[in-house]
Each structure stands twice: as structure tokens, then as C-alpha cells.
């Protein structure tokens, strides 16, 4: 498990992308989404829970995700989010944008070995 210093705070705007991506596997509640992002990034990405809910709120307002109250695996009441059709399209758009951005930054920074 990485130490606190090794974790990376999310860049502005990338949280939306990660939430949408996580929901691609099916409806999930907020805590589950945060867990999933942390686990899938091998605990590198830190999701600030305080930012998570406003982000969900924003995505819901944009119509990319929908929400309803349900019951979690361990029988707790939780608000479940699911991807909408426009959300799926948005995910595809943002994913390709992100890949292009990441590739471009990678090219600018050059090969990893040359570093340091």
C-alpha cells in the first residue's frame, strides 16, 4: 500500500471521468465508487470524499448519471448511481480526450529512463 506521500491527488476534472468509468460496470453507491477508484488505481489515486459527492451531484445535474435509493451488499441503505445513455457517450468522449492528453504529455516529458 502506497504511503500518503505517494498518493496523487486527482487533477481537476479527472474525477468525473473516473466516476463515469467506474459506473460502466453497473450501478454503485458513492462509497463504492470511491473504493473502486482507489482499488483499481492500486491505491495510488486518492479520492477526496468531500469532493466526490459534489461531483456526483454535478454529473447528475448534467444528466450523465441517474440516482435512486437502494440497499447495499451489507444491507445498508445507500444512494445508487448508474450511467445514462448520454453519460456513456460522454465517457467515450472524455476517455479519448484523456488518452490524447496523456500521450501528448508523455511525449513532451520524453522517455522515462532519461529522467533524473
Amino acid at each position: 500500500m502506497p504511503t500518503r506521500e505517494e498518493r496523487i491527488a486527482l487533477l481537476q476534472g479527472t474525477l468525473d471521468l473516473l466516476i463515469l468509468r467506474t459506473l460502466l460496470f453497473g450501478p454503485q453507491h458513492g462509497q463504492g465508487i470511491a473504493r473502486a477508484i482507489q482499488q483499481q488505481s492500486a491505491e495510488v489515486l486518492l479520492v477526496d470524499h468531500g469532493s466526490l459527492y459534489p461531483a456526483l451531484q454535478r454529473l447528475e445535474a448534467a444528466g450523465w448519471i441517474g440516482a435512486k435509493w437502494g440497499t447495499s451488499a451489507n444491507k445498508r441503505k445507500a444512494r445508487f448511481y448508474a450511467l445514462t445513455k448520454t453519460g456513456r457517450a460522454q465517457l467515450a468522449r472524455e476517455t479519448s480526450q484523456w488518452r490524447r492528453l496523456a500521450a501528448a504529455i508523455g511525449r513532451v516529458l520524453g522517455p522515462e529512463r532519461a529522467e533524473g
Binding site: 450501478p27 453507491h29 458513492g30 462509497q31 463504492g32 473504493r35 477526496d48 470524499h49 468531500g50 469532493s51 459527492y53 459534489p54 451531484q57 454535478r58 447528475e60 445535474a61 444528466g63 448519471i65 441517474g66 440516482a67 435512486k68 447495499s72 451489507n74 445498508r76 441503505k77 445507500a78 444512494r79 445508487f80 448511481y81 448508474a82 445514462t84
Partner: protein, 870 residues
């Protein structure tokens, strides 16, 4: 279903609670001490309150909450300044009220459909020769068209009704049997008549009463249906009563009774025209079949018109149809009414604009005083957007309050206007009661006004430099703000100039109309009218009665001369005929000329003070045994006979009519409206051409009321039963002709006064404010020895420049809008020197008046007090 909706803050709090519990569960599962798990989860979450606040701000709740708070604050702020608030609300109320009132008239005349089923399918048939068609033409149109589900023929007709109060003249409709069926209206009581009730001439003695007639003339008798009433002394059975809001198909005319068309000869006694192709007295309204467009219907009608022109060339040559909106007799009244009301609506909008300019400067001045407050708000973290919203909310609260008061005023006034009946024999009445359209209009006007006068101050408030203001920098030094306020003065003065010139133009137009040469002198002439046909007289009895009545009138004390005629110029009842020059043979119908005719007794020209330029007056010798004679006016001589000296020339009535010799030429006058061009008119001797409609006239130096009373008495001595109508002085009876000019002058005059009020208060406010802000400066100037005239110049030079600039712009605008005004007001020319100098004088007066008090205050500033100030 995953739904989207506005979430309540409680819902969000619950979700976060759920998150914390889930997180605690996970931590426990990872082996954390259960007691610490909850706290750890909360730590992991970060700032709870901040998350909730962010949710709150992202939701629409915030918007609503802020609106509520802003409104509450605005109300508190405004109620703390009752002076400012009441002036602002009053200004807006006048502006919005005027607009709502004018709009309710436009709504009634132009927008609101008739209260019948599917009013959009109804059309009025207008033809190239005028509004009316002959009844045989109507029958042919009914039989041959494919475009209409039904065509109704009808005519406005006066009748004599016997009721409990005695015999009296009322106005009603003659209508074909399908009238109510085609309009698709339901009766309040009983039934309406149907085509089966209107089959044979003179055999349909049925009547439908209007609601008002039922209430006022029969006391709302619940058993009226089936009862017999007497119209023109014949019995008619009342079959039904119409709904209160149904007034037939004309917007301006409220009939009291409907009678089947087959009774025409019994209603219009002595003038039976149902079989006459030469009498175009039937108005036609049609209901289009579903799916038929007006253009298709017009094509269909014109094909029939071409057939009719072939079959009856004498009457139908060149016949063509045009469809118009029903309600205003097609373009005859519809055109001018629309142009006038829309023109007035434009002026009303200008008044509102002036009110907005006024308020903008008031609010700007106030906003400048509130700089400190706004600076504090900004410095403790209010966003600029929030400040804009706050100031704008105040403006909207003001404008909505003003709108509410204005709408209430408009409702009251339009109720009064609906109740009001023009002072004439003819039942002219408009239903201008406001409906939802007027309400929406007033609401929209209020919002627009609020945004208009509020947005500039709001924007400026948001740009307050809080640092400078809080440090106590002199306020209002900015060049920008001063420039905007000056601009407002210029706008105000320009708008005021336009409105005042419109107002003066209309007053001048009215004055010209009143002093215009009418072709007769209405002063000192008294009138009493009756109809011998309705009263059951035969022609012989009638002729005898007319002559004896005239003789009695001539003997009344003070009466210089007396006469009678079928109708008088500029009254509602005008008759036309087709005449042909007499010197040609083989005349075709298209050679005919349209002429207005009057049947008059000897002495008519003396009594009316109409000059005879040539020839002689009629005498009692011009009777049925002598050759037929006539007197024509100058226009007739020129247009029909092509001569300046018509005496001795001949003309014909109709292509095959007998020859009539011209024995005299009278001066031109106004006959149908004050704005008409010279019209060909022929006067025929009543002795040679009898008419049952009789208008007795007498010229007397004594007061008209007395003369009228004596005239009534004189007629009553001959026949006490004779129902009289249209009694009064002639100037009074000309109300119909002067009605448009009078209403224009009234409406525009009101706007002019409003505009002047607004401009005076607006300029006064600005000058007063300018003086108040410069108290210190003026004090210093006086202290170092400025004399009063220098102080005066300091204050007035700028105002004078602004008023001048506004006037120049206003002058340019009024000249540009001159065409519009000329169409509304008789003889209006914006280049009229009298009007222009009048407006200029008004503007100067306005400038002086509005800056008087503040300037006076400036002159009396005590330098010591001023310097201690602040």
C-alpha cells in the same frame, strides 16, 4: 428507474450519513477497532459542512432562497424610503396603466375573437363596391359557392318597439334564418330562429332579444319566451334571449333585437329591397368549410362574381370579393381603427419608456448614495453577480408593484369605457374589458420596465470599487456615471418632445376640424327626427304631416327658418345613388357616378346656412306635377357634369332613368367624414321624392334646449303618439363625425400630460441630485466670492444643453413620425409652425419649471454650513 430531480438538502445529508456508515463497515472489516472506525470514516471524508454547503450551492434551492431573501430585503429597503418608493410606483403605475388600457382596446378591436364557435373560420365578405351586397346576390352566393359551410346575410336596422315605457326606437339586426346556426351560438333562454323560420316574405314574425334588452326593456321577465311584443306596431313572438356576451358580429354595435330577414319590408317600412339587385344593403359573414383557406374561398367567390357580372351587368359589373376579419365592417372601419389604436399603443410605449428613463435616473442617483453599502457587501465576499441580482430585484419589486397598481387602474378605466356609450342615437359600445391577454401584457410590460430601468444601475453597482469607496473617496466623481445620467435626461426630453408634439398636433387637428367649413353652419340649429313609416302613416298622410310640421315650426318664437330632410350631412344615415350625365345616350353602367343624395324641403339651404352659388332654391311649386329638378354641389358639377356652371344641365338616375334638371348649385361640404375629399352630392326636393324618415330642422337665435323642447311640443300637437328620436342641437348631433378627432385628441392629450409630468419630475430629480452633491463645491465657490449669476450658470448651463440636445433629437423623431401622426389626426402636419413653437415653448417651460426649486436651493447655500457638511 434512475430519476433526475432537485434534491433536498436532507436527502443529501442522508446520503453522506450512508457513506460514513459504509466506510466504517469497510474499516471494521479491515480490522480497525469498531469504536475508531466511525471517527476514521469521518476523518477520511474531510470537511462535512463544506461538502454540504457545496451541494447546497449547486442545487436550485440556492436560487430560490436567494430570490426570497433578495425580495425580502428589497421590500425592507424600499419601505424605508416611502417617498422614493411611492414616486417610483406611481410613475410606473401611470406608464404601465396607460399601456394596459390602450392594449385592452387593441385587444378588443384587433386581437380578441368574436364570442362564437370557431371564430377563426368566420370571414366578412367585402366587395369592390363596398361592404354590402344586394340580397339577390347573397342568395346566388349561397347557392353557388363550394367554399363556405354557411353564409349569413344581415343588416343593421332601427325599429320601433312598444314596451311598458311606451314606444321607442331601438336598434337591431335583420338576419337570415341561418344566422345563429352558422355563428354557432347558444341562447340563454328559449331558442334562436332557424332557416325554417325565415322562408316566406312577411311570414316570420319572430324576435330574439339581446340580454340587455331583455333586462332593461322587459324587466328580465322569466316568462318572456313565447310572449308577443310589438315592433313597428306589428306583433312578433319572442322565441329566445341571447347570452349576455353576445352582441352580434360587429364589435362596436350592440343590437337589442334580431328579426328574420323575411320581415325586411315590415321593419324598413316603405323600402323593400329583398328582390332588388340594385340595393346593396346586405352584409355577409361566412364560415369557411374546414380545410378551405381564405385564398381558396376568395377564388371561389370571384368566379361566382364573374358569373354574376355577366348575368346582371347593370348591377354587378366589375364585382370582386375580398375577405376581411369580421367585426369592423371589413376595411371600412377596420383599417382606420387598427391604424389608430396601434399608433396610440406606440405612443403609450413611448410614455412607458419615458417613465423608465425617469426611474433609471432616480435609481442611479440612489445607487450612487448606496455605494458604501454595496462596497461593504463586496468587501465581505458578495459576488458581483449577487450584487447585480440584489439591485435588479429591487427594480423588479418596484416595477411589479407599479404594474399591479397600473393594471388595477386600467381595469377600472376599461370597465368605465365599456359602460360608456357615445352620446348619439346609435348604440356604439365596445367591450374593452380586460382579459388574460391584457393581464399578461401588463405583467410583461412591468418585467420589461424593471429590467430596462434597473439593469444599468445594477451593472454599475457591481463595478463599485470597494476600496476607494470605503476609504471615503468623494463619491460620484466618475465621468462615466455622470455621462449616463445626462444621457437619460436627453432621452427623457426627446421622448417628451415627441409626445407633446403628438398631443399638440391632435389638439390642433381637432381645433381645425371644429372650425372647418362644413358646407353648413351647425350653430343655432335644432333637430327633431321621426319616421312616418314606422308610425304607420301612408304616403299621402305623411306628406301632409311633414308640411304641417314645418309650418308649425316656422311659427315658433325666435325661429328664423325651418325645413325638413330625410337625413343631414355628417349624421350616420347617408344614402347613395348612381347618376349619369344627361347629355349622352347609350350609357353603360360603368359611366355611372356614385353620388350622395339628400331629400330636402324648400328652405333647407337657408336653415342650414348652406350657400347657393348659382340658381335658385326649391319652392313648394316643384311638386309631383312639375318637371323633376335638383340642386347639386360644386363637386357634382365638376365630377358628373364636367362644368363649372351646371344650372340648366340634366342628369339621370340610373342608366335608363328619367332626366332631372339642375336648378341650383350649392357649396361643397363634408358629408360622411371630416377627412373625406370633395364628394359629389345632389339635393332632391322631398315633394318630388317622398321619404318616411323625417328630420325637422329649425334655426333660432334662442337657446337650443328651449327650441328643441318647443319643437317636440309642436310635433306632439300633431300626433302625440309619434316616437321621436335624435332630438337635440345640431352641433350635439355631429358627435359621430367629431368622435374620431375627439377621441384622438383626448387620448393623445392624456399622453402629452403624462409625458410632461414625467419629464418635469425626471429633470427635477436630476437637477436636485446634482445640486445636493455639489453643495460643498458651491459653498466654496460662494465663499471665495462667486456671485449668484455664476452659480446659476454653473447649474443651468448643463441642464440647458441637455434639454436642447433632447429637443433636437425629439424634433427629428417627430418629423420622422409625422406620417404616422398625420394618419391618425385630421390635418396634422408635424411641420406646423404653431405646433413646433408650442412644443418648443413647452420644453423651455418644462426646463425652467423642473430646475426652479433645486436652483433656488443652490443659490441659498450657506457657505459656512456647506463647508462644515460631511
Amino acid at each position: 428507474m434512475f430519476r433526475r430531480r432537485v434534491r433536498k438538502p436532507e436527502d443529501f445529508a442522508e446520503e453522506i450519513q450512508a457513506h460514513l456508515e459504509l466506510e466504517a463497515d469497510r474499516l471494521r472489516a479491515e480490522g480497525l477497532d469498531p469504536d475508531d472506525a466511525g471517527a476514521a470514516a469521518r476523518r477520511g471524508f474531510g470537511n462535512l459542512a463544506s461538502a454540504q454547503e457545496r451541494h447546497y450551492e449547486s442545487a436550485r434551492w440556492l436560487w430560490w432562497d436567494q430570490l426570497r431573501r433578495d425580495t425580502g430585503y428589497a421590500v425592507r429597503v424600499l419601505s424605508r424610503r416611502p417617498g422614493f418608493t411611492s414616486i417610483a410606483v406611481l410613475t410606473l403605475a401611470l406608464g404601465i396603466g396607460a399601456n394596459a388600457l390602450v392594449f385592452s382596446v387593441v385587444n378588443a378591436l384587433v386581437l380578441r375573437p368574436l364570442p362564437v364557435a370557431h371564430p377563426e373560420q368566420l370571414v366578412f365578405l367585402e366587395s369592390s363596391s363596398g361592404a354590402g351586397q344586394s340580397f339577390p346576390n347573397y342568395r346566388d352566393l349561397c347557392g353557388r359557392n363550394q367554399a363556405f359551410a354557411g353564409l349569413v346575410g344581415y343588416r343593421i336596422a332601427p325599429m320601433e318597439l312598444d314596451s311598458d315605457a311606451g314606444a321607442g326606437r331601438i336598434w337591431g339586426y335583420l338576419a337570415t334564418g341561418n344566422y345563429f346556426d352558422v355563428l354557432g351560438v347558444a341562447p340563454l333562454m328559449g331558442r334562436f330562429f332557424h332557416p325554417s323560420d325565415d322562408l316566406r316574405l312577411g311570414a316570420s314574425p319572430f324576435a330574439v332579444l339581446s340580454y340587455a334588452a331583455w333586462r332593461s326593456r322587459f324587466g328580465g321577465d322569466p316568462g318572456i319566451v313565447g310572449k308577443t311584443i310589438r315592433i313597428n306596431r306589428l306583433p312578433y313572438t319572442v322565441v329566445g334571449v341571447a347570452q349576455p356576451d353576445f352582441h352580434g358580429t360587429e364589435l362596436f354595435y350592440w343590437p337589442e333585437v334580431w328579426v328574420p330577414m323575411m320581415m325586411q319590408a315590415q321593419i324598413e317600412v316603405g323600402n323593400s329591397w329583398l328582390e332588388e339587385r340594385s340595393t346593396s344593403d346586405t352584409w355577409i359573414v361566412g364560415r369557411l368549410k374546414p380545410g378551405v383557406s381564405p385564398a381558396q374561398a376568395e377564388t371561389n367567390l370571384n368566379a361566382i362574381a364573374a358569373e354574376l357580372a355577366r348575368e346582371y351587368p347593370a348591377n354587378n359589373e366589375g364585382l370582386q370579393f375580398k375577405l376581411a376579419k369580421p367585426g369592423l365592417i371589413g376595411d371600412f372601419m377596420g383599417g382606420p381603427a387598427k391604424a389608430f389604436t396601434l399608433g396610440v399603443l406606440g405612443l403609450a410605449a413611448l410614455v412607458l419608456l419615458a417613465a423608465c428613463a425617469n426611474l433609471a435616473s432616480l435609481v442611479t442617483a440612489r445607487a450612487a448614495d448606496r455605494q458604501r453599502e454595496i462596497a461593504i457587501r463586496l468587501s465581505i465576499g458578495a459576488g458581483r453577480g449577487r450584487v447585480v441580482r440584489q439591485v435588479l430585484t429591487e427594480s423588479l419589486v418596484l416595477s411589479l408593484a407599479g404594474g399591479a397598481v397600473g393594471y388595477a387602474l386600467a381595469v377600472l378605466l376599461s370597465r368605465a369605457l365599456t359602460q360608456w356609450r357615445a352620446p348619439m342615437d346609435f348604440p356604439v359600445q365596445f367591450n374593452v374589458n380586460p382579459d388574460w391577454r391584457v393581464f399578461l401584457f401588463a405583467f410583461a410590460a412591468a418585467i420589461a420596465a424593471g429590467v430596462l430601468f434597473g439593469s444599468a444601475p445594477a451593472w454599475r453597482a457591481s463595478r463599485t470599487d470597494s476600496n476607494a469607496v470605503l476609504k471615503g473617496a468623494p463619491t460620484g466623481g466618475g465621468r462615466q456615471r455622470l455621462a449616463t445620467r445626462d444621457l437619460l435626461v436627453v432621452v427623457q426630453v426627446a421622448l417628451c418632445f415627441v409626445l407633446v408634439s403628438a398631443c399638440l398636433l391632435s389638439v390642433r387637428g381637432l381645433q381645425r376640424a371644429l372650425n372647418m367649413r362644413l358646407g353648413f353652419d351647425p350653430r343655432h340649429v335644432s333637430v327633431v327626427a321621426f319616421d312616418l313609416g314606422l308610425a304607420g302613416y301612408t304616403e299621402e298622410q305623411g306628406r301632409d304631416f311633414q308640411r304641417r310640421a314645418q309650418e308649425r315650426l316656422a311659427q315658433l318664437p325666435g325661429v328664423a327658418s325651418a325645413a325638413f330632410a330625410n337625413s343631414l350631412p355628417l349624421s350616420i344615415d347617408q344614402s347613395h345613388t348612381t347618376v349619369f350625365p344627361g347629355d349622352k345616350s347609350g350609357l353603360r353602367p360603368s359611366d355611372g357616378r356614385w353620388a350622395t343624395f339628400y331629400q330636402v324641403s324648400p328652405g333647407y339651404f337657408t336653415t342650414m346656412a348652406t350657400s347657393l352659388f348659382a340658381g335658385r332654391d326649391f319652392t313648394w311649386g316643384d311638386d309631383r306635377k312639375s318637371p323633376r329638378v335638383a340642386i347639386v354641389n360644386v363637386a357634382f358639377a365638376r365630377q358628373v357634369l364636367n362644368t363649372a356652371n351646371p344650372v340648366g344641365k340634366y342628369f339621370r338616375h340610373g342608366p335608363g332613368g328619367g332626366l332631372v334638371q339642375v336648378i341650383g348649385m350649392a357649396e361643397d361640404g363634408k358629408y360622411e367624414s371630416l377627412t373625406e375629399r370633395p364628394r359629389a352630392v345632389v339635393f332632391l326636393p322631398m315633394i318630388q321624392s317622398y321619404n318616411t324618415t323625417t328630420t325637422l330642422i329649425a334655426r333660432s337665435a334662442r337657446p337650443e334646449t328651449q327650441t328643441v323642447a318647443e319643437m317636440r311640443e309642436a310635433v306632439g300637437l300633431l300626433d302625440p303618439e309619434m316616437p321621436l328620436y335624435g332630438t337635440g342641437s345640431l352641433p350635439q348631433m355631429l358627435g359621430f363625425a367629431f368622435f374620431p378627432a375627439q377621441s384622438a385628441a383626448l387620448a393623445l392629450g392624456a399622453f402629452g400630460v403624462l409625458a410632461i409630468m414625467l419629464a418635469v419630475t425626471g429633470i427635477h430629480g436630476i437637477v436636485a441630485y446634482a445640486v445636493a452633491r455639489r453643495v460643498r463645491e458651491i459653498g466654496i465657490r460662494i465663499a471665495v466670492g462667486a456671485c449668484p449669476s455664476q452659480v446659476l450658470r454653473l447649474i443651468l448651463a448643463k441642464i440647458a444643453a441637455l434639454v436642447l440636445a433632447g429637443s433636437v433629437i425629439g424634433l427629428a423623431l417627430s418629423l420622422a413620425a409625422g406620417q404616422l401622426l398625420a394618419s391618425v389626426v385630421y390635418g396634422a402636419s408635424p411641420r406646423d409652425p404653431l405646433v413646433l413653437s408650442g412644443v418648443a415653448a413647452t420644453m423651455i417651460l418644462l426646463g425652467v419649471l423642473s430646475s426652479w426649486a433645486p436652483t433656488w436651493r443652490a443659490l441659498r447655500i450657506d457657505p459656512m454650513a456647506a463647508l462644515r457638511y460631511e
